[in-house]
């Protein structure tokens, strides 16, 4: 196998070059991050079924190992460089030019890091709630993590598709084996819904490769090559490919009106499944919109940005309306997710650095808050065995610590200044208002209503649970958070406050890449851009890319 460490492409030609060895260790960090969960999943199969503690802690350990690798990767990442970094290219199926191509730019590195950060919390959340078939459970969770990281790292459409479909299997079993009463229905609905989108996307992917074959003579699945050539496809053809991709990602996000699988999955999954969907899976959709929507099909994106934003606005309002009337905590939280995903889609299709960065940050914020929120709900459900809002009240008196941490998660979703949600929401709206592509304030105004709605239903939720009287006076039986629950919740809370105060710790990584993307889009649309500095770096020769790394 020939590993060509780095390859750059300009339109219609690919140059391959080998770069100094300084480059390799950092690329290995990405590979290590990617494969650590897989190794963990396989290793778990060797652990005895009865060694429950060993199963729990070894899966937690592997997810932490992945996180440490991801941290090392993030530290090794050159955030002043908008190009793809840490590239690995191993030939896989020469007949299709498919390869094991992975690499990260500022956006995907953040997505990967944030995923590895969320996963240990998710696993911790499973410790108390999963009682049977633990071995399979933790192996599947780690397999899921492997798939999700793979999606963000893949620079090859074939590989991307493999990872994209790979996560269906663990999700299917997570819902079906450990889920609630209607779990079979929810599992099959989720699977068929998602598979429909991804198979249409598969046809789109092949069509794209074939289009390249017509222009260059070679079928390819090389994403870096495709994203140079795809924008040159005439709009009449491009819009169909765009539609195929958008269908898949809008189902995955899920964007209104393709969201109907979400409430079923959220209410029938085991708690951990709910957290995974609410904190990790929807990131894939948002990432796909950026990577395959904006980058590959700029003309179509301009053409349909307003439609996508209108769908986003509809999702904001529709999701919020439904969230307000829900009486079940999980369903409420899942409609809240539908609603706030609407703003993220608007942010992406505002095609401004603020909007896109806001969307990326918000996926993370939302992951954190949702993890926090669902963990809190899980604590309640475990003690009372119901998710019905009417069965709760006056918790603040008996569970003061819980009330505080629950409040922080909630207020982060509401967008209280000083917490992470505020920054994300602010950037999203700023992007939507300032977008030269949308050139329309309506979307911004519609998006801003989310602030009002979210306050209504979240405060209602809090009010209902924490204040008032406990029905049947069962509150006496409730006990405050245990140490294990605190260990899960406090890191999430710290991060919420951290990002709320100093977001650039994370934001700086995606800064240059976002600017480069927007710069390219503006060049196509308006012919000029104010991000010329970034674009210059983008067209730097491979050698300079290596040199930049040496300095780092």
């Amino acid at each position: 196998m020939v590993a060509e460490r780095i390859w750059r492409c300009k339109a219609h030609s690919v140059t391959v070059s080998t770069v100094s060895h300084n480059y390799i260790p950092i690329a290995i960090m990405l590979l290590a991050t990617l494969f650590a969960p897989l190794v963990g999943a396989l290793a778990l199969l060797l652990v005895s079924r009865d060694a429950k503690k060993a199963l729990k802690y070894s899966s937690l350990l592997m997810s932490l190992v992945a996180f440490v690798f991801a941290l090392a990767m993030l530290l090794g990442f050159d955030h002043t460089n908008p190009n793809m970094q840490m590239l690995t290219n191993v030939s896989w199926i020469p007949a299709l030019d498919a390869g094991f191509r992975v690499g990260v730019d500022g956006m995907s590195v953040l997505f990967i890091f944030l995923t590895t950060l969320t996963m240990p919390m998710v696993i911790l959340a499973g410790f108390d709630s999963i009682k049977e078939q633990e071995k399979e459970f933790y192996a599947l969770i780690l397999l899921l993590e492997f798939g999700v990281i793979g999606i963000f790292a893949a620079l090859d459409t074939f590989l991307f598709y493999v990872f994209f479909e790979l996560i269906l299997i663990p999700m299917y079993f997570l819902i079906g084996v450990w889920g609630g009463e209607r779990r079979t229905f929810a599992a099959i609905k989720f699977f068929i819904y998602t598979m429909f989108g991804s198979l249409v996307m598969l046809v789109g992917l092949i069509w794209l490769g074939y289009y390249v074959q017509q222009t260059t003579g070679h079928f390819t699945t090389n994403l870096l090559l495709l994203r140079e050539i795809a924008p040159t496809i005439p709009l009449s053809t491009q819009k169909w490919m765009f539609a195929a991709f958008m269908l898949a990602f809008c189902i995955k996000i899920p964007l209104f009106p393709l969201h109907t699988w979400l409430p079923d999955v959220q209410s029938e999954s085991p708690l951990v499944g709910t957290v995974v969907v609410g904190a990790v899976l929807f990131k894939i959709g948002i990432y796909g919109l950026i990577r395959f929507g904006l980058e590959m099909f700029p003309q179509s994106s301009f053409e349909y940005a307003k439609i996508m934003c209108a769908l986003g606005a509809a999702a904001v309002i529709y999701g919020a309306m439904l969230a307000i009337v829900q009486t079940d905590m999980r369903r409420l939280a899942s409609y809240a997710l539908v609603s706030s995903l609407g703003t993220m889609v608007m942010g992406v299709f505002s095609m401004t650095p603020e909007g896109i960065q806001g969307a990326i940050l918000q996926t993370f914020n939302h992951g954190l808050s949702v993890t926090g929120l669902f963990l809190c709900l899980g604590v309640l459900t475990q003690q009372r065995g119901t998710t019905n809002l009417a069965d709760y009240g006056g918790i603040a008196k008996v569970m003061p610590m819980f009330a505080v941490l629950f409040a922080i998660s909630l207020f982060s979703l509401v967008g209280l200044p000083g917490l992470n949600g505020f920054i994300g929401e602010y950037l999203l709206l700023l992007g939507t208002f300032r977008s030269p592509f949308l050139n329309n304030w309506t979307f911004g105004i519609l998006g801003a209503t989310t602030g009002v709605f979210v306050a209504i239903y979240m405060l209602k939720l809090y009010n209902n649970i924490c204040f008032g009287k406990f029905p049947n006076d069962g509150s006496a039986s409730m006990s405050d958070l245990t140490t294990k629950e605190l260990v899960t919740l406090i890191p999430a809370t710290i991060l919420m406050i951290w990002i709320g105060i100093y977001p650039s710790t994370f934001m700086r990584f995606s800064d240059e890449s976002t600017k480069a993307l927007v710069g390219k889009l503006e060049l196509v649309k308006f012919g000029t851009t104010k991000y010329t500095e970034t674009l210059k770096k983008l067209h730097a020769a491979p050698a300079t890319e290596g040199a930049a790394h040496k300095e780092h």
Binding site: I93, A95, Y161, E165, G176, A187, I192, V200, V203, W207
Partner: protein, 478 residues
């Protein structure tokens, strides 16, 4: 003469082992007659070795009636492996049913030699003889459990409909013989039909009849009617063999004959290809929709095999080298997956035709975690989920279809796959998400068939992860 023997060595050896196995079964005292199975299996292993040794040699034998090349060798290896896998799994199954006779193994050997003849044929008559040798062995094998009503019914149905389709095939060949002025060799037919823009009526009629006959053999819609009943009624190991080796052989002949009869570019051939595309689309949709209503695992796999034939037809519709090599890969992937699934079903079958309903599979994950696990693996592969074998076959065939301008066909294929998720997952739902409710449960007795299942699992995973190993072979072929 020497070359004639040399190039047809796999076929000759296979028939030789078949005949000697029959003699051993007939004349060696009954007590020792259980040596037939090891004899037949090792015979096929020798055939496999010779087929592999002939790899890379191109040549014709018997005045150009038989060819040897990568194409034929690839299929030889495929057929011999499917025969070996079936024979290993057949012994525990037949012993369980208390109906083990030597003829079973002999018939498998004859069927394999018929299949090989189909892949080696360069002449319509040879292809016909191959098809008949294979089909007649299958008729007998289907009715093998002769005191079981289902089995006899299956054999009779298969025989009647098979004979009917053979009529189409033979009539078509006769018409082509007339239309081309006495030519039966593929290359000669190709040479005589490729000129001119309009196909003569006689040739068109002959082509149509042959394509109908072949579509019957691959069980494509609307010529699929026989397959659910036959697949359900035949002994499970026989079904495993028919639906993998048999289907592969039918496609081996189909590719060659379609290549000879449908020249590129003419207005009529475009129409024929359109028609084949419609057959392909209809098979995929019909097979998958009908499978959704099934509650019996064998019937489910039968309907799904109609749909799978539809996917494979894409390779013929594409008519390109990519289409052919994609189809060949698909056949190898399908062989591992379908064989594995049927052998798992055979291991779980208790009395003849019993313990095959979804309700019997309920809670299987608790009773037989390993069998349930591998069955799910096969289901995911059939569904076309990466990184399993069939996914890559589908990907490649979709690519070929889009390349040939049949994007709509690829879209129909994608849609049909979504439908198929319902029933493939349905089986997994039964095994993992439900508990066994009523009736007795019987422990599975896989015995030696575990070897077959293990090889199938390895094949599904390896072909999925490293498809380029096999692609390198199928890619060179054309």
């Amino acid at each position: 003469m020497l070359y004639d023997v040399f190039y047809s060595l796999p076929i000759a050896l296979c028939s030789f082992f078949g005949i000697t196995a029959m003699l051993i079964g007939a004349f060696v005292p009954k007590k020792r007659s259980n040596i037939v199975m090891p004899y037949a299996t090792s015979g096929l292993a020798i055939v496999l070795t010779f087929a592999a040794l002939l790899w890379g040699r191109n040549g014709t034998a018997f005045n150009g009636m038989i060819t040897t090349g990568m194409y034929a060798s690839f299929f030889d290896i495929l057929f011999a492996s499917s025969g070996i896998l079936v024979m290993i799994a057949a012994r525990p199954y037949l012993q369980k049913m208390a109906w083990e006779f030597d003829e079973f193994y002999v018939l498998v050997l004859f069927a394999v030699s018929g299949m090989m003849l189909m892949a080696h044929a360069n002449h319509l008559l040879i292809a016909f003889i191959g098809i008949e040798i294979m089909s007649i062995s299958f008729y007998v094998l289907s009715a093998y459990m002769r005191n079981e009503q289902l089995s006899v019914e299956s054999g009779l149905k298969y025989f009647l409909l098979g004979a009917f389709s053979t009529g189409f095939l033979l009539y078509g060949m006769a018409l082509i013989y007339g239309a081309t002025g006495g030519k039966m060799e593929y290359s000669a037919i190709r040479a005589s039909v490729s000129y001119g823009s309009q196909m003569p009526t006689l040739l068109l009629a002959g082509t149509g009849l042959i394509l109908i006959g072949l579509s019957f053999k691959v069980s494509a819609f609307p010529f699929h009617g026989w397959s659910p009943d036959v697949y359900q009624g035949a002994p499970t190991v026989v079904t495993a063999f028919m639906s993998t080796g048999g289907k592969a052989a039918a496609f081996a002949a189909f590719i060659q004959i379609a290549g000879a009869l449908i020249p590129n570019g003419g207005p009529d051939s475009v129409k024929i290809v359109h028609l084949l595309a419609c057959i392909s689309a209809a098979s995929m949709l019909y097979g998958n929709i009908a499978a959704c209503a099934q509650q019996n695992v064998k019937r489910l796999l039968a309907y799904s095999s109609i749909a799978q034939a539809g996917y494979m037809m894409m390779g013929i519709v594409a008519g390109s080298s990519r289409g052919t090599s994609g189809l060949m890969f698909y056949l190898a992937a399908y062989l591992c997956t379908q064989m594995g699934a049927f052998i798992v079903a055979a291991a779980l079958e208790h009395k003849y035709g019993k313990q095959l309903e979804f309700s019997d599979y309920a809670g299987l994950a608790k009773r037989h975690p390993l069998l349930a696990g591998v069955m799910s693996l096969f289901m995911f592969s059939l569904l076309g989920l990466p990184p399993f074998a069939v996914f890559f076959g589908k990907y490649y065939l979709f690519t070929a279809a889009i390349e040939a301008g049949y994007t709509w066909l690829a879209l129909v294929g994608a849609l049909a796959s979504v439908i198929s998720a319902y029933f493939y997952l349905g089986l997994i739902v039964a095994m993992y998400f439900r508990n066994h409710e009523s009736g007795e449960t019987y422990p599975a007795q896989p015995g030696m068939s575990g070897v077959t299942i293990g090889i199938a699992v390895a094949g599904v995973i390896l072909l999925g992860l490293l498809p380029s190993v096999v692609m390198r072979w199928t890619g060179i072929v054309m």
